[in-house]
């Protein structure tokens, strides 16, 4: 009884150590590779966000200038008319 119990315990311990030792885990180098990849993705996300802001600012600047240009053309026509009457 005792022997079988000891055998059971030893077998359990052996099984546990085998499971732990032979499990399929990434090594340190692989883990670092993943971490570096995650960091690069985070940095890219920031860069994309910055570029989107830059794009929006440029679109606004262009729209403003387009408005000013339209106004300028109107002003030109108006001034031409006024100058003729002077």
């Amino acid at each position: 009884m005792k022997k079988s119990f000891v055998g059971l315990v030893v077998a359990g311990a052996l099984l546990a150590s085998v499971v732990a030792g032979c499990s399929n885990k990434p090594n340190a180098e692989e883990l670092k590779k993943l971490e570096d990849l995650k960091a690069e993705v985070a940095s890219l996300e920031k860069a994309v966000s910055a570029k989107e802001s830059e794009k929006a600012a440029l679109q606004k600047a262009i729209a403003d200038k387009a408005g000013q240009l339209t106004q300028c053309e109107k002003d030109k026509a108006l001034v031409q008319e006024r100058v003729k009457g002077m």
């Binding site: 005792k2 119990f5 000891v6 315990v9 359990g12 311990a13 546990a16 499971v19 732990a20 499990s23 399929n24 885990k25 990434p26 692989e30 883990l31 590779k33 993943l34 990849l37 995650k38 690069e40 993705v41 890219l44 996300e45 860069a47 994309v48 570029k51 989107e52 830059e54 794009k55 440029l58 679109q59 600047a61 262009i62 200038k65 387009a66 000013q68 240009l69 300028c72 053309e73 002003d75 030109k76 108006l78 001034v79 031409q80 006024r82 100058v83 002077m86």
Partner: protein
């Protein structure tokens, strides 16, 4: 027996802690899964970044083109009025000067404004001069000049109203040296003694002889202006009467 129970307890703990550690640590499959996921994300973001950069470059060009077109339009606008940056600044300074003068006159009481009404003419002259300048046709100045003219007209109206209600109460000769000549000479009346016939003709109902005015008489003061034909004729007849009334030989 005790030994075995302890050993079994230790083994159970060992297996349990091992299971916990294994549960916490990433498996190779999970690592691979995350690597695949993040690599795809990386590629997607890089592609997005490239697309955005291309769009930004195109937008920068568009922005530069619009800026150039706007500059060209503004240059053409200035060419239409024959102005450059320096004359534009000088013109704006002239308008500032007119604004300052109108502001100064606007702060005066009605009586003080009336006394300085000749300055309204000076401002009008300045305003007329800027209106003749082609720069006044520019929208940024056009409305401003219009507004200045409106304010000046309002001041003139105030002066006219003051003028309409302007009266002078005659004092004594001894104290005030009041006669029509001296009253007309007062800065707050006409500031010009030769306009005395205006007061006389404007108060014919109460002044029969311009040499005689009485203390306490309230005289209407007509608007300052050159003498009319009638007023000049009245002066002539006044002097003729005076000459004919003078003793012979004088």
């Amino acid at each position: 027996m005790k030994f075995f129970s302890r050993l079994s307890l230790i083994t159970v703990l060992l297996v349990a802690s091992l299971a916990v550690v294994m549960a916490q640590e990433m498996t190779k499959d999970e690592w691979q899964k995350q690597m695949t996921e993040y690599t795809a994300k990386q590629a997607d973001l890089k592609s997005k970044l490239n697309t955005l950069q291309g769009e930004i470059d195109a937008l920068k060009k568009q922005d530069a083109d619009k800026a150039a077109a706007l500059k060209k339009c503004n240059d053409e606008l200035m060419a239409l009025v024959g102005a450059d940056a320096a004359s534009d600044r000088a013109f704006a300074a002239q308008l500032d000067q007119i604004d300052a003068k109108i502001n100064e006159l606007s702060k005066l009481s009605n009586q003080d404004l009336w006394a300085r009404k000749s300055e309204l003419d000076d401002v009008q002259k300045m305003l007329d001069a800027v209106k003749k300048n082609k720069l006044s046709a520019l929208p940024k100045y056009y409305d401003r000049i219009k507004e200045q003219q409106n304010r000046l007209d309002a001041l003139r109206k105030t002066v006219d109203n003051v003028q309409m209600s302007m009266t002078y109460t005659v004092g004594t000769w001894a104290k005030d040296r009041d006669c029509l000549w001296n009253i007309a000479k007062k800065p707050k009346i006409y500031d010009n003694a030769f306009l005395w016939p205006k007061i006389w003709q404007g108060n014919r109902d109460q002044i029969k002889n311009p040499d005689v005015i009485k203390k306490g008489q309230v005289l209407k003061i007509p608007a300052k202006a050159d003498l009319t034909k009638e007023e000049k004729a009245a002066v002539r007849s006044y002097w003729q009467r005076k000459q004919s009334a003078a003793p012979a030989g004088k």
